[in-house]
């Protein structure tokens, strides 16, 4: 019974050997990563289906994302992944100074990434690309400078949609016999759908008072060429990058905790499990971004 003679501090009572503990942790982490993959998998599925249905939304919407920022962020994450992997090696080699440095570099990478995302997001918000219908209902027209106040932001949309759909419906509907009640549309279709339950959604926002009249540039949302519901592209964009961003945020906390541990000297060649597992997590965050980047920025 070797555990009786060598039971180091870090070894939890129900494990027999450090190796057993390490491998348990590692297996657990891989399983957790599998759940992360599936969690994002759901979003990727939503992306695939939506894009399959509405390629035009994606084509149009992605123009407003800047490839530059996306590419820089990709590079940042890859580099921080590299430093993270190196940190693990440093820990395994008992090189505490290198460990602390490398972890700090990784953390810096995470922060830069978040900073860039912040720039991108605020830029988008400023342009009026918000996640969710809810926000489109009440655009702050009074203080906005970039769009034409006299034109509705989305108000026209569901209406045209409904009209288009009903028009089609009446064509494909069974022949109608003239009569006082043979109104053109027999099947009012879809597009007004659930919006019918939500009164505000259909009403064009009230044109604002015209005291900011100098800002009469047409906003992309008012572009007549714009495909229906094109702003919905940004919903999936915000959902996916947002959830990814939350994971980066989680990574920031994790890395800070690791750095503290490393400074205190808690890790060694015998016990570097937290660094290793934290690294695995961080790489998966990188991995997901590797896919998000082309899917959103490079359409």
């Amino acid at each position: 019974m070797s555990h009786a003679d060598a039971h180091p501090d870090f070894l939890r009572h129900h494990f027999h050997t450090p190796k057993q503990q390490f491998e348990a942790g590692k297996l657990g982490m891989w399983l957790f990563l599998a759940t992360e993959v599936l969690l994002f998998g759901g979003l990727f599925c939503g992306y695939a289906v939506w894009r399959g249905n509405h390629p035009e939304m994606f084509k149009y919407g992605s123009q407003f994302l800047e490839t530059k920022w996306g590419a820089i962020n990709t590079a940042v994450l890859i580099t921080s992944s590299l430093t993270m992997a190196a940190a693990v090696t440093a820990a395994q080699r008992d090189n505490r100074r290198a460990l602390v440095t490398l972890l700090s570099l990784t953390l810096a990478g995470a922060l830069v990434f978040l900073g860039i995302k912040y720039i991108e997001y605020s830029h988008k918000f400023h342009e009026g690309w918000f996640p969710g219908m809810k926000f489109y209902e009440k655009p702050d027209l009074q203080h906005a400078k970039t769009w034409d106040h006299s034109k509705p932001i989305i108000g026209n949309e569901p209406f045209t949609a409904a009209a288009g759909a009903t028009g089609q419906a009446s064509q494909s509907a069974a022949p109608t016999r003239g009569g006082p009640e043979a109104e053109p549309s027999t099947v009012a279709l879809a597009a007004i759908g659930p919006a019918g339950l939500r009164p505000g959604a259909l009403e064009p926002p009230q044109p604002a008072h015209d005291d900011h009249a100098e800002a009469h540039t047409t906003h992309p949302l008012q572009d007549p060429q714009r495909p229906r519901n094109a702003h919905m592209f940004f919903n999936i964009y915000f959902m996916m990058t947002g959830l990814h961003g939350l994971h980066v945020l989680g990574g920031v906390l994790l890395l800070s905790w690791l750095i503290i541990g490393a400074v205190k000297g808690r890790f060694s060649a015998q016990y570097f499990t937290p660094v290793d597992l934290g690294g695995l997590y961080w790489h998966v965050v990188d991995l997901i971004w590797i896919f998000l980047f082309p899917l959103f920025y490079l359409i």
Binding site: H13, V37, L38, C45
Partner: protein, 576 residues
């Protein structure tokens, strides 16, 4: 190792050896415990409480349906009742039930380990469960939820006029999210434990079948649950800010939601049934004192069910306007799940052959499991046949089917497990007589309640109906449905009485029950080698691992009212 524990009559109760229950005291020693056994017990208590609450809702549903017209509650309340009943039963009760309570308790002991791989994660899972439960309560307080447990869009995303409201649906979906992670962490923990904490000699094929079942469940928990997480997250975001993925007016696809939902929720039904199936494998073998028949087939059938179950979710969507191609594919694959299930049923029967069957309470539950699950599974077949499912979908036939699986199967199995391990968990024996009576009542009541619903469903009674009379209803239809609903409700009263009794005698046994011997039933798996209740770290030294279905090494001790190792074999029993 415990064969020489002293038997004591109930009257004079001497202090016990320290065990996990009395090692430390005070409420904090429970709330902050890392001991898998205590966590298991906390789960058990919480899950049973939730079951009673949801059961109460079920009784309200049944009473409402007893007569045509509005009997006790109005339409909206009714809709909330079945939603909460379904959601609580599924997410708070059945998903965690067996793995997190009984599994937590016996898994490490069965393996011969001191604890699960990640005790803190284990406790964290429990508190996630509690958080989920609290949020479910919040959902009730914030206006309730009336979407059905399936949350189909667009109904669930457009229920209120004021979007963005933090209302019942929001809270319930977030509760499901949190509960999902509780379930994920439990499954993850168990997989790692089974992989990494098996002591020497405990090979894969020496593990009790219950652990195989838990392992297969773990796969499902880890691989399927994240999808419900993202589903409810999207739903909540869709409802609060209108993200549009599922909203047809914004270009979304409501059918996509159903894919999302069932991608998890179909595997989820096997998360519910696999562990009870594992329990049944144990019970059948132990209580007929005979080696399990076809160990490997049973073990692999668990894994097969787990894997197949990922491929069949579309059978819930045959009439949803899913593409015909998918309908056909999903129908075909659905049958594949029936085969490993059939293997299990036949192997259990073969285990009984030439057994020495004690018809005590756990065994009665096990036998009724076989009876009920056979009906449950077989009625799944007409549902899997597309042509007939078109008629049966969303009728009471489906309701009956899933109550037979979930209640007649999963819950019956769990009750069998609770009775089986009760002496081990509490150190007390319950009243065998009352146990059998209650089991009989539940069995009879259950069949009267839900068998009737098969007929009701075939005849066309749609589910989620508050009423079966009213301006549009034909009188004959109302009368027909009324007679059947009435019978069904009568059955549910019998069933409720059964549960009432069960709760009564179990609680009674806690205070008055006879002291349990280490091995009252003659079980051979490792948990019966440690005292009842077990000490804190389960085993001082690794126990003897052998064929866990070889009962010939045990003998009955009249004085102790339990089994112990045959004296002539004691030397190689690995005892201290």
């Amino acid at each position: 190792m415990t064969t020489n524990e002293v038997t004591t009559p109930i009257e004079s109760e001497p202090a016990r050896e320290t065990n996990y229950l009395n090692a430390t005291t005070g409420i904090m020693s429970w709330l902050g415990t890392l001991d898998h056994k205590r966590i298991g017990v906390m789960y058990l208590v919480s899950v049973l409480m939730s079951f009673f609450v949801a059961g109460l809702f079920a009784m309200v549903i049944r009473i409402e349906l007893m007569w045509p017209g509005e009997t006790i509650i109005d339409q909206d309340t009714y809709n909330q009742m079945f939603t909460l009943h379904g959601a609580i039963m599924v997410f708070l009760v059945l998903i965690p039930s067996v793995p997190a309570s009984l599994g937590n308790f016996v898994l490490p002991i069965m393996l011969g380990a001191k604890d699960v791989a990640f005790p803190r994660l284990n406790l964290f899972s429990y508190y996630l469960w509690v958080t989920g439960a609290v949020m479910a309560v919040a959902a009730i307080l914030f206006g309730g939820v009336d979407t059905g447990w399936t949350f189909y869009v667009p109904y669930s995303t457009t229920g209120v006029d004021d979007r963005g409201a933090m209302d019942g649906v929001f809270f319930l979906t977030m509760a499901v999210f949190v509960l999902g992670f509780s379930s994920i962490f439990t499954g993850l923990n168990f997989i790692v434990t089974i992989h990494r904490l098996r002591p020497p000699g405990m090979t894969w094929f020496k593990m009790p079948l219950f652990l195989w079942a838990i392992y297969a469940t773990g796969i499902l928990q880890v691989m399927a649950t994240p999808v419900i997480g993202i589903t409810v997250l999207l739903l909540a975001v869709e409802r609060t800010v209108g993200i549009g993925i599922f909203d047809p007016s914004l270009g979304g696809d409501p059918i996509l939601f159903q894919h999302f939902f069932w991608f998890y929720s179909h595997p989820a039904v096997y998360i519910m049934i696999l562990p009870p199936m594992g329990i049944i494998s144990e019970l059948i073998s132990v209580h007929s004192h005979k080696h399990i028949f076809g160990y490997r087939f049973i073990a692999f059938s668990s894994v097969a069910i787990a894997i197949f179950s990922f491929l069949v979710w579309g059978h819930h969507m045959f009439v949803s306007s899913q593409s015909p191609l998918l309908n056909v594919v999903f129908s075909a694959i659905t049958f594949s799940v029936a085969i490993p299930s059939a293997v299990k049923v036949f192997n259990w029967l073969a285990t009984l052959y030439k057994g020495s069957i004690s018809l005590n309470t756990p065994m009665l539950y096990a036998l009724s499991f076989i009876f009920l699950f056979t009906i449950a599974g077989l009625t799944g077949l007409p549902l899997a046949v597309i042509a007939t499912d078109i008629h049966l979908h969303d009728t009471y036939f489906v309701v009956a089917h899933f109550h037979y699986t979930m209640m007649g199967g999963a819950l019956t199995g769990m009750l069998g497990g609770i009775h089986h391990w009760w002496p081990k968990i509490t150190g007390r024996m319950y009243s065998e007589v009352w146990g059998r009576i209650a089991c009989g009542l539940v069995f009879v009541g259950f069949n009267v309640t839900f068998f009737t619903q098969f007929v009701l469903g075939s005849l066309g009674m749609p589910r989620r109906y508050h009423d079966y009379s009213g301006p549009g209803w034909a009188q004959e239809t109302t009368d027909l449905f009324h007679s059947l609903h009435f019978v069904s409700t009568m059955g549910s009263f019998i069933m409720a009485l059964g549960f009432f009794l069960t709760a009564g005698y179990l609680i009674h046994s806690l205070f008055r029950g006879r002291r349990a011997p280490a091995n009252p039933w003659g079980g051979r798996s490792l948990e019966w080698q440690c005292p009842s209740p077990p000490p804190v770290y389960n085993f001082a030294e690794p126990p003897h691992v052998g064929d866990c279905y070889d009962f010939s090494v045990l003998e009955w001790d009249e004085q102790e009212q339990g089994y112990h190792w045959r004296r002539d074999l004691a030397h190689d029993a690995g005892e201290a």
